[in-house]
Amino acid sequence: MTNMFTTPSRLRKARAAAERRFRWFGLIAIGISLTFLFVMVGSIILKGRGALSTSGIAIVVDLNPDNVDPNDVKGTRFDSLMKKSLRNTFPDVKSRKDKKKLYGLLSVDMGFELRDQILENPAILGGPQKLWFTASDDIDLLLKGAVDMSLAEDNRRISDMEAGWIDTLTAAGDTRRKFNAKFFTNGDSREPELAGILSALMGSILTLLVCFLVSFPTAILAAIYLEEFAPKNRLSAFIEVNINNLAAVPSIVFGLLGLAMLLNVFGLPRSTPLVGGLVLSLMTLPTIIIAARASLRAVPPSIREAALGMGASPVQATFHHVTPLALPGILTGTIVGMAQALGETAPLLMIGMVAFIADVPSSIVEPAAALPVQIFLWADASERAFVEKTSAAIIVLLVFLVLMNLLAIFLRKKFEKRF
């Protein structure tokens, strides 16, 4: 005790130091969390940037009538014509193995690309033409500078010979990089240079549509009942406990429910947006109900009392006066719930939305992929070029999530009334 009075400054110093330390712990904790956020998003953006551009190689193709019959363009053997053109570009390639590598400079789709270019512009027929083709994934990485050429030849995917060809082409101005429109207009593909996200994106949009149509009306009616009408009895309490628990059930369990009930008992079609949307709607239901109830609770009782005093029935008071005032909050909660559903992967894996789907789905009963599942599939793929595709798909997903959340914030700011 005497110590405390004789050396007050020392004690005060120690206490002040403890105070500063404690404050620093808080700052460091926030710092670490935010650093992680920025590193994660930053690294994905850096990795995904490459997928926005694609490499092309120009090859001279002889389109004389011997090779392509102008009257029967579709009967042409485009693949062998392309191979011939590649051989003509590098005439000193002789061995079978080397030729195979030479053909590998271009994407496997090169025949189709040639056909499409001819059908689009038949005027190019008649003689030799220099045309642009998509480079294969490994060459694309090489042209983007993503291949470490200082490694031993056996340890990289590009041999010295291939690099030499590309150097020759580049020196002649026959390679280029351009915006990768295919990434947004193609479906999934086994070939990284051809793979796009359109089918997955459409699948996600259809799934969300089903999810919204099922969960929004159900959730809003449930919230109104629980908040405005439900008597304080055991049943209401039980419903409430159920909703709170459902909000915390692991998402994969909903997937198991979908598999056992929707697919096996009700026999709904596997891998479709219909089933995916239904499963996700069960998951988003509690989120929307909880948000909607909070927003209904924020409407002051005076509004209800005024409506009831003017002779409105309870249902009229609720639907004509209370709900419209709570709607911005309800919509905000719905959008947040939809954003969660958009990023959800595990339950979709359970109901078979992991199949390889290249076609763009046009209805909710066709098999479809979804954006997060596509990310999962690409992340598993062995080709290195899929890493940047995966990152780019993640960027697209994050952009959608940001847009949805901005919309939610906008709605809240613009329409929310404070009472």
């Binding site: 404050r23 712990f25 808080g26 909903f254 969660q340």
Partner: protein, 322 residues
């Protein structure tokens, strides 16, 4: 004339009154039905998991499932094949799940708690309005993104770091999955703890500060003890989220069912196994497929108990100060 109008008005009232009454009854019934969906879903989950699990336990005794230490679920091609029956001991999966969740909680608890304390007790309004939404972004990022980051960036980094100091870190280590999962649940802990800390009455703070304690002394000796039940509730909720998390472990933790407490080795979890068992081709009556439902039942039961306890604590605590 005046009498006539009054009758008309009364007629009008009576008819609309009757019509709206029956209509309103329908609306109310519809609303009750929508609320009951929550119960139907819960019952659906319990029944579908129970039903398939019972089928599973007809083939594999429950004691083997709960206490067996070998997990190798394979379907036999021929009846006389070696190991045709498969082994369904869930202990390695449970231990793997607990190990990864434990690592996640070790990361998330200090970070989340200190963030919450700083935000609620120290930060000014401006800092709070910037940092809080940023932390919540962490909660909004889909878990498949965390999984990708864990598998592609964190795991190789840990492996390289381990090599640097002479440790052999598996490329699908529990550590990588656990750390990334921990980051994912930071916002859950921080926002829930923030709420409970804010719910501690200002009078307690004022009294402590008035007696001459510093801010940190007030927090440690007065506010945290008062908020401890609520914080415990939020930690339980976070643990339940970690146990049920799927994508991060599927992508970063792998499928090797090792029974180990070493965070540098590869382990697998209940959720990762459910995904592995149910994706791809499946026949519905094989023990392999059915075991996924038994695992799902286990997962559902554990998370349900954790959620119930934590919700109870949080609600009780909220009432205490209201």
């Amino acid at each position: 004339m005046p009498e006539n109008t009054s009758i008309q008005v009364r007629d009008f009232e009576i008819t609309t009154g009757n019509r709206s009454k029956s209509f309103e009854n329908i609306v109310v019934a519809l609303m009750i039905a929508c609320s009951a969906v929550a119960i139907v879903v819960t019952i659906g989950i319990i029944f579908s998991l129970l039903f398939e699990s019972i089928n599973f336990f007809k083939k594999v005794p429950m004691s083997e499932f709960l206490f067996g230490t070998t997990w190798s679920p394979q379907t036999a091609l021929r009846a006389d094949q070696v190991g045709a029956s498969g082994r369904f001991g869930a202990v390695p999966l449970i231990s793997g799940t607990l190990l990864i969740s434990f690592i996640a909680m070790c990361v998330a608890t200090p970070l989340g708690l200190f963030s919450a304390i700083y935000l609620s007790e120290y930060a000014g309004n401006k800092t709070r309005s910037i940092v809080k939404p940023l932390l919540e972004i962490l909660a909004g990022i889909p878990t498949v993104v965390y999984g990708f980051f864990a598998a592609l960036t964190v795991a190789p980094l840990l492996r390289a770091g381990g090599e640097g100091i002479g440790l052999n870190v598996s490329s699908e280590s529990a550590l990588a999955a656990g750390v990334v999962m921990g980051i994912m649940i930071i916002p859950l802990i921080s926002s829930l703890s923030d709420d409970v800390i804010n719910a501690v009455p200002q009078s307690l703070r004022d009294a402590s500060l008035g007696l001459g304690s510093t801010d940190s002394e007030t927090i440690r000796r007065v506010i945290l003890p008062a908020a401890i039940p609520g914080i415990a509730g939020s930690l339980l909720l976070a643990a339940s989220r970690a146990i049920g998390e799927t994508m991060i472990v599927v992508m970063a933790a792998g499928l090797a069912a090792n029974l180990t407490a070493n965070p540098l080795e590869a382990v697998t979890t209940i959720t990762a196994q459910i995904v592995a068992l149910l994706t791809g081709d499946q026949e519905f009556d094989s023990a392999k497929t059915l075991s996924a439902f038994a695992l799902g039942l286990l997962l559902f039961a554990v998370t349900l108990i954790l959620n119930m306890i934590s919700l109870k604590i949080v609600n009780k605590y909220r009432e205490q100060y209201d």
